[in-house]
């Protein structure tokens, strides 16, 4: 929900916050693709239906991947659609492989990249054998984190690697008067005696990341919560914790709590009608 400050924003920023121009351009593209079917007065109707579908979150169905990931709202809508379409998989207690989940994703988005599904699966399976079976809810929540926060996770991965290698992104390197070489922390061999990275240091770096970058990040307060429970953690340990955190799920707002995953009265009603 935009704050009243939106009234003071310059025009361009206000529009950018809700990606108004993105949707308008897409609406025009869609119109052009369907122009044979539309009459003069049908255009207003067309735009009405388009924007209504954006509001309801059905606009992302069967669209290309570049559109689906274009805005946070699109991503959330896609997650929600995936849940509603395939929750029966979870209901029956079926366990599927990564490839099978990928097929389901491709039903909704024909050019969905395999790489993304693989990354999501890696969160659930903790980098173990990728042919393992996963439950619907495990996959869904891991997929949510991976898909919605893609850019954030990439940066986090880079930070994690840096910390592992002993480089602290936060330190200020002051050139010494002598050779000007940086002094580095102990080499990888020593540091790898302990698994993962130190949680509090990790959090500091992430906090900076969230401040610096404009793209979607999980709420910093909740990230802090995740990191405050442990002393050290691995990258995938962190991702798993993110995916299982109820607060983060709620903040995202796309999926219900894990316990309510099977509960969708609206969908049930629609299915009854068929």
């Amino acid at each position: 929900m935009l704050s009243p400050e939106r009234l003071a924003l310059p025009d361009y920023e206000y529009l950018a916050q809700r990606h108004v121009l993105t949707y308008m351009e897409d609406a025009v593209c869609q119109l052009l693709e369907n122009k044979e079917d539309i009459s003069q007065y049908g255009i207003a109707r067309f735009f009405t239906e388009y924007f209504n579908s954006v509001c309801q979150g059905t606009h992302i169905l069967f669209r290309e991947f570049s559109f689906i990931q274009a805005t946070p709202h699109n991503r959330a809508s896609f997650l929600r659609a995936f849940w509603r379409c395939f929750r029966t998989v979870g209901k029956n207690g079926d366990l599927l492989t990564m490839r099978e989940y990928h097929c389901l994703l491709q039903l909704l988005c024909p050019d969905f990249p395999l790489e993304l599904t693989q990354k999501a699966a890696r969160i659930v399976l903790m980098d173990d054998a990728m042919d393992c079976l996963m439950s619907f809810s495990d996959f869904l929540f891991a997929f949510q984190i991976q898909f919605y926060y893609s850019e954030f996770l990439e940066s986090v991965a880079a930070i994690y690697q840096d910390l592992l290698a002993g480089k602290n992104p936060n330190t200020v390197i002051v050139p010494t008067s002598s050779s000007g070489q940086h002094r580095q922390r102990p080499t990888l061999g020593e540091a790898s005696m302990l698994e993962g990275v130190e949680a509090s240091l990790f959090y500091q770096c992430l906090e900076n990341l969230c401040d610096r970058h404009k793209y979607s990040c999980p709420p910093p307060a909740l990230v802090k919560e995740v990191l405050s429970n442990v002393q050290r953690l691995t990258f995938y340990g962190f991702l798993v914790a993110l995916s299982k955190h109820h607060g983060i799920n709620q903040a995202l707002g796309a999926l219900p709590d894990k316990g309510d995953l099977m509960h969708d009265p609206a969908m049930d009603e629609e299915l009854e009608r068929l």
Partner: protein
């Protein structure tokens, strides 16, 4: 705004989300040309420009929903709306009007006082234009429906509003009853209508009496004013009307009562 039709590359850093990957379909220059022509011809360019300006003017909290309503209203106003040739039923019209009024009301945040007041005025007009009845304002049912839609579960009418409303209603009923009695006096028993000149004279006297009681703060004073119309002053007014050589035409009971009620409603003071 010509850029709206073309697919644009990734937007400037002000965007809170990188608009990566525009649809990668590349089209020949000629095809783009004809597309632009098509869009201009069917009026899409103008339509979107107007829509965007409206969005920037109103700065709604949910611009996408705003746009959906905007185009919906545009669609409603167009002639080819369903094409059956049959005018939509009263209920549908009322729903449309309500929808439109709601849309106007939501255009500006209430802190933008001038814009908000303006929109309230437009919404009021939109709802008052209810076809056959010429009475000003909207009827109670429409008003309640509107409140329900805005407030949903949180609707609550405060006591003084309720009291004023109830009192006014009952006073109006009594007023109409007395107006009816007045009419009966004017009525020609054989024709069952009254002479227009006489009826109008009565109404004018009534209006005068009401205006005289303008200083009053309580609706009950109107009752007094009504009953103050004794036969003497009325008789004088009626005499005068008959003497003036204007052609006579009938005035029905309904018309008389309607005009009388209108006089009353025009006098009702707003609450608070």
């Amino acid at each position: 705004m010509a850029a709206v039709e073309k697919r644009r590359p990734a937007v400037a850093p002000a965007a809170s989300f990188p608009d990566s990957g525009r649809p990668a379909v590349s089209r020949a220059a000629a095809a783009t040309e004809s597309e632009e022509d098509f869009l201009r011809q069917v009026g899409v360019t103008e339509m979107l420009r107007a829509a965007l300006l409206k969005v920037l003017e109103a700065r709604p909290e949910e611009p996408i929903a705003f746009l959906a309503h905007y185009f919906e209203n545009m669609g409603l106003r167009s002639p080819a709306n369903g094409g059956a040739g049959e005018p939509p039923g009263q209920l549908l019209l009322q729903q449309q009007r309500l929808g439109r009024a709601l849309w106007h009301l939501r255009l500006a945040h209430h802190s933008q006082r001038t814009a908000f007041n303006n929109n309230v005025g437009v919404a009021y007009e939109c709802l008052s234009a209810s076809g056959r009845k010429k009475k000003p304002g909207l009827d109670g049912r429409t008003y309640s429906e509107l409140l329900k839609r805005i407030c949903r579960d949180h609707e609550a009418v405060p006591l003084d509003v309720f009291r004023a409303g109830m009192l006014t209603c009952f006073v109006l009923l009594e007023f109409v009853a007395r107006a009816g009695a007045l009419y009966q006096l004017l009525e020609d028993p054989t024709l069952a209508v009254a002479d227009r000149r006489v009826g109008q004279a009565v109404l004018d006297t009534l209006e005068g009496a009401l205006q005289a009681s303008d200083g009053a703060a309580v609706p009950a004073c109107f009752l007094e004013a009504g009953s103050r119309l004794g036969p003497d002053s009325l008789a004088l007014a009626m005499d005068r009307a008959l003497v003036a050589r204007r052609p006579s035409s009938p005035m029905t009971r309904e018309e008389f009562l309607e005009k009388a009620a209108a006089l009353f409603i025009a006098k009702v003071k707003p609450v608070g």
